[in-house]
């Protein structure tokens, strides 16, 4: 999550669910927290009980809205405009927490003279390359120090020359960027110097003034125009937030995929970060930004990633053309201020955990064995490669893209074009059966006999049938013990992969081919129990890391770059401290204080609230009694409090680092953001975000609305997947006049295999449905409870319709916008079956994280959809009427015909 990573230095939620109870106000936006995170939501209810104001900003009135004090309906995809309106309100009324802002953020930093913002460039930032759709961020950087030392001068030169040195080709550049932005999960983007500052915040080029100018456009009227939110409502939210921020009070923000699933997802989170920094709400009890993450261990799956572009602990994946040695690999970050500056220790320890004794200083710790990135290998790009015949084999492990991923047809066409497909799952999911009963078989677009893919289905053990850890929303690792053994042939992931590794290594045994060395040299020696099951705690121990004596380490500060330590994921170092599985601690919350430090183990170092140094004023005393958490104890000469201080424990508040200090030594006593190379929270991101140093409102790629803020219609940096099965609805089309957005229901889980197959869940939401406002229903003649057909340029699906006041017709100035709500859980297998809403969704992505958009435009009509080949003809007719032509496939970032602005 680069939005948080570039703002604060770590990509995880800055706070914990439990800490929400301390909030005086909670703004939930971009998440339906009560429905998708019901257990965590208990803390919101607790806060409410204690008197907090709860606000929910969502296109729909949901179960979260129902228990909130205020629900504000918003047009899907317009959150930056709304949050921008709040930022503007704070800035133009001097409502920011000035002391906090000056001391702890980069508000005072001066920005390069060449920087230009979207006000000057019709919606673009300086550095945009219309050819590639990529930004060169050099003009966004901090002013170099006036008295540059030799090293800084060298960096300055490098940066200027590095400009275009990323390998040629858009793919490579993108991957370079993506690798950079996603690696800020724990370690902010590196800046070369702390830069010149004007603590009076008056300098016209200081971040604070740039911010003021940038957000001045986001007036209440503009917010109404973009979001359909009245000035009164905006004001209400603004008042609640500002009244509940400052020394005595704090406001927390919670979001999830209502923000991230957009082509502007990362920038939306950036806007929220700016707001929270201005209000002084980061690092303080009852404050923060709670990124509500999805699957049980989705945070874990970025910490120890299932992503193509990072390695455990957010180390960037080396690039094929750039990084020939550990030196080159870590150079950009090494030695920068803060803990990220110790990257070499983390990297070398990781290599040691992979290759053990084979990794030596002489062979650069087997750095050459690491695969390198050659381009963008994100999932949607891979699907395109399947369709184009470049990707031949595919493992689907706990994923059901035929239903769960955007543009289901594209997913299925891709899988139908493979040589082999391995599906490991609990259920016979649609992704394993599409070849015989998928929608394309029905329409005749695919013919079973002609699909050449050989599909292997391997039954997986589920979460109660194996032990292991989950890392959830708040970076908390919780150990789970096996309850029952897996039935039949079901295997745990661990057993499967250890076995797969063993078999491959057995086949390669004795090989003299250099190519096989990385596999043969792996430290692949997992102990097994009497049933042949590898011991998951041994894996946790390996992840935790060991010292020269083989004993578990207790903190990442013990990691060394000389190969004497080994660690599978540096941020998890300490989870096995003292040889004890710390994640298995289960002291109930009523037996400990509110921080509940003895339940599980949170990275980093079991801290529950990150950057908690900021809970104290610059001088180290708590901002207020009411909001004290961590403070400086002058007698003891150390930081203390109820949470583990997220700071160097004995660094005095008045400490000023030596000039030229590196790594942790360079952290000043008033630099709470210890993973940032300048120790500050970033209002302005001089590097690290692909699509601009500041957020700007752009319309979703499909929208009935002209961007009211800038002439530039869409995010110029967005990634569109250009392939015939991914056509786009033209914006402002009369044929596709309505907005749709997709989401979850409490009663079902994601692509549905884990809920549609269970009677007790199925009976609670037994059929696919959509939700519309009474007005839309009247306009299209839709009757409550009856069937309707929803259509986009990709496909048409049918569902029953709930006509409800919970969906509002939104007025944007003189235009009315109607939104169709679509829970996305359905597919063709299971007890309750139906068309999959993802067949409607297009693939256009955020440039930072390659995440698809959950919104688009559509038409909706009464009645069921046509069957068989008639469906194809029906959709084809829509495309013809909407004038969807080849240009709607191209999706070149700027050549998009609806991008009103770029020509201007």
């Amino acid at each position: 999550m680069p939005g948080l990573g570039t703002s604060f230095g770590r990509g995880g939620a800055t706070t914990s669910l439990q800490d929400l109870q301390n909030a005086d106000c909670i703004l939930i936006e971009g998440s339906n927290m009560a429905e998708a995170h019901p257990v965590g939501f208990q803390w919101v209810m607790e806060a409410k009980r204690r008197g907090a104001t709860i606000i929910h900003v969502d296109p729909r009135f949901t179960r979260t809205s129902a228990v909130s004090d205020l629900h504000v309906p918003i047009r899907a995809g317009s959150d930056i405009a709304f949050l921008g309106g709040l930022v503007n309100h704070v800035l133009s009324n001097d409502l920011d927490f000035r002391e906090y802002v000056v001391a702890y953020t980069n508000a005072a930093n001066l920005i390069d003279e060449d920087y230009r913002g979207p006000d000057d460039l019709d919606g673009l930032f300086s550095g945009f390359d219309p050819e590639t759709g990529l930004y060169d961020p050099i003009s966004w950087r901090y002013d170099p120090p006036e008295d540059m030392n030799a090293e800084e001068r060298e960096r300055d030169r490098e940066q200027r020359e590095d400009k275009d040195s990323a390998a040629t080709g858009e793919d490579a550049k993108r991957s370079h960027q993506a690798a950079r932005s996603e690696s800020h999960g724990s370690g902010g983007a590196p800046v070369s110097w702390k830069g010149a500052r004007d603590e009076t915040l008056q300098h016209p080029r200081c971040v604070f003034q740039i911010l003021k100018r940038h957000f001045a456009r986001y007036t209440p009227e503009m917010v109404q125009q973009a979001c359909g939110i009245s000035p009164e409502q905006l004001r209400q939210v603004a008042d609640a937030l500002t009244a509940n921020s400052g020394r005595e009070r704090t406001t927390a923000l919670a979001y999830a995929v209502g923000w991230t699933h957009h082509t502007t997802g990362a920038q939306t989170i950036r806007t929220a970060s700016i707001l929270q920094l201005l209000l002084g709400n980061i690092g303080r009890p009852g404050g923060g930004i709670l990124a509500l993450r999805g699957h049980a261990s989705i945070q874990g799956s970025t910490d120890i990633p299932t992503l193509f572009n990072i390695l455990p602990g957010y180390l960037p994946m080396p690039l094929a053309d750039h990084h020939q040695s550990v030196d080159e690999w870590v150079r950009a970050d090494e030695g920068k201020a803060g803990f990220w500056g110790e990257i070499r220790s983390y990297a070398v320890s990781l290599l040691k955990s992979y290759w053990g004794d084979a990794a030596t200083a002489e062979n650069d710790f087997c750095f050459d064995y690491l695969p390198r990135l050659t381009g963008d290998h994100s999932t949607y790009t891979t699907v395109k490669a399947q369709i184009e015949g470049r990707c031949k084999g595919y493992f689907l492990v706990g994923e059901n893209p035929a239903v769960g991923s955007a543009n289901g047809k594209m997913q299925r066409l891709g899988m139908a074009n493979l040589d082999w497909l391995v599906v490991r799952d609990l259920q016979m999911i649609e992704s394993a059966t599409f070849w015989k009963d998928g929608p394309e078989i029905e329409t005749g677009e695919l013919v079973t006999e002609e699909i050449g893919t050989e599909i292997f289905f391997l039954p997986a053990a589920n979460h109660v049938e194996k032990s292991g850890s989950f890392t959830q929303t708040q970076r908390l690792l919780q150990w789970r013990d096996q309850a029952v053994p897996p039935p039949d042939d079901c295997q745990s992931e661990l057993e499967f992969y250890v076995d797969l590794g063993n078999r491959i290594r057995a086949k390669l045994a004795g090989s003299t081919d250099e190519m096989d060395r990385p596999l043969l040299d792996l430290a692949w020696d997992y102990p097994v129990d009497e049933h042949g099951e590898p011991d998951p705690e041994a894996v946790l121990r390996e992840i935790n890391g060991t010292g020269p004596d083989g004993a578990p380490l207790s903190s990442y500060t013990e990691l060394k770059a000389d190969g004497s330590t080994s660690c599978g994921c540096w941020i998890y170092c300490g989870v096995y401290a003292d040889g004890v599985n710390q994640s298995r601690r289960r002291t109930p919350h009523w037996e400990q204080d509110q921080v509940a430090a003895e339940w599980g183990w949170a990275w980093p170092a079991n801290r529950r609230i990150l950057y908690n140094r900021a809970s104290a004023a610059p001088d180290g005393t708590p901002w207020s009694e009411r909001k004290r958490l961590v403070w400086w104890d002058p007698d003891e000469g150390r930081w203390t409090g109820s949470d583990v201080p997220d700071f160097i424990i004995d660094r005095a508040p008045d400490h000023v680092p030596e000039p030229g200090a590196k790594g942790p030594d360079a952290i000043g006593g008033q630099d709470p953001f210890v993973m940032q190379t300048d120790g500050k929270g970033w209002l302005f991101s001089p590097v690290g975000v692909a699509d601009g140093p500041l957020p700007a409102h752009y319309e979703p790629p499909e929208s009935p609305v002209r961007n009211p803020v800038y002439a530039q219609q869409n995010n110029p940096g967005r990634k569109h997947l250009s392939t015939p099965s991914n056509p786009m609805n033209p914006s402002f089309s009369e044929v596709f006049p309505y907005v749709f957005t997709t989401y979850r229901l409490t009663e079902h889980h994601t692509a549905g295999a884990m809920s549609r197959t269970l009677p007790y869940l199925t009976e609670l939401q037994p059929e696919p449905f959509c939700e519309v406002s009474p007005r839309l229903a009247a306009e299209r003649g839709l009757e409550h409870g009856e069937w309707v057909t929803i259509v986009t340029a990709r496909s048409a699906i049918e569902a029953r319709v709930l006509v409800t006041e919970r969906l509002r017709s939104l007025r944007l100035g003189q235009q009315w916008v109607e939104q169709v709500g679509l829970p996305y859980h359905w597919g063709r297998n299971g007890i309750t079956t139906g068309d999959s809403p993802n067949d409607l969704v297009n693939v256009t992505m955020d440039p930072n994280v390659s995440i698809q958009d959950k919104v688009g435009t559509c038409d909706i009509r009464p009645g069921r959809r046509p069957r068989g080949a008639a469906l194809t003809a029906y959709v084809e007719d829509y495309r013809r009427r909407a004038g969807v032509g080849p240009e709607h496939l191209d999706g070149h970032p700027t050549a998009h015909p609806d991008d009103g602005g770029t020509q201007a």
Binding site: P774, A777, H784, L802, V803, T804, E805
Partner: protein, 319 residues
Amino acid sequence: MVPEPTFESYYGRPILKEPTWKTPDVPIYLWIGGVAGGSALLAEGAALSGLPGLERVTRLTAAGGAVVGTVALVHDLGRPERFLNMLRVFKPTSPLSVGSYILAPFSSFAGAAAASHVTGVAPRLGRLAGLGAAVFGPPLATYTAALFANTAIPVWHEAHRELPFVFGGSAAAAAGGTAMLLAPVAETGPAVRMAAVGAVAELGVSHRMEQRLGMLAEPYGKGLAGRLMRLSRALTVAGLGLSAVSAGASGRGRPWARRLAGASYSAGSLALRFAVFEAGRESARDPKYVVVPQRERIRAREEAARSAASETGSGTLSG
């Protein structure tokens, strides 16, 4: 559109559960209980006053009714052995339990009396049994009113004062009617009188009941229940009329009229049981019949409390 809940209900859904008792089993059970119970009375009267034809018919009717009633009950339960569970305990709070302890002895007595009467075996014991049946007969005919009334079904519960008399009257009409239909015409005099009194009571008390029930009378008057109720009344009135016609001729000239009158009474009684059952179901289905009277009750209570309060209030003021 998600239907907007009206002020007084949840999507118009019932608040109460409809009785799950089966039709026709349960209405037939109610009716046959009345026929049998009344017949046991007639049988004893006939025996005492020497009307052998009437006695024979009514004894057989009482016994047959007991058998049919038991069968209907067991069928409603689903499995015969389940009837035994009824006799695990005796619970005066459960009319069904009480009823079981009425039905069981009644059946035995009526059966024994009939058997003895038909076979001539143990005539004294047979007469004693007949007496027993006559003792259990009236409660058998009327306890079913408590069976219905002791529920939350508004049109039953609120009618708990009238319903026993309606059912009692109806039983008299049905038993008398059945005897008029089956017994030798010359011996039906008592049956004619019993049926006529019963019919008048049935009509009169049920009318009164509806008047007192107010809006809760509605289910008795509309839909299937209303049609059955009207049919019942028509049949009962017809019974009275025909009976009068036949009575005028002392049963001599027009036996068909008497038999027809008897059939009419009995059918009227049967229709009444169906009507009451259906009205109960309807009042459970429509939440209105739960909410409106209960709201009214609350309002009245509050009003009473208010006036009480204002009285004491003025008292304190003056003091």
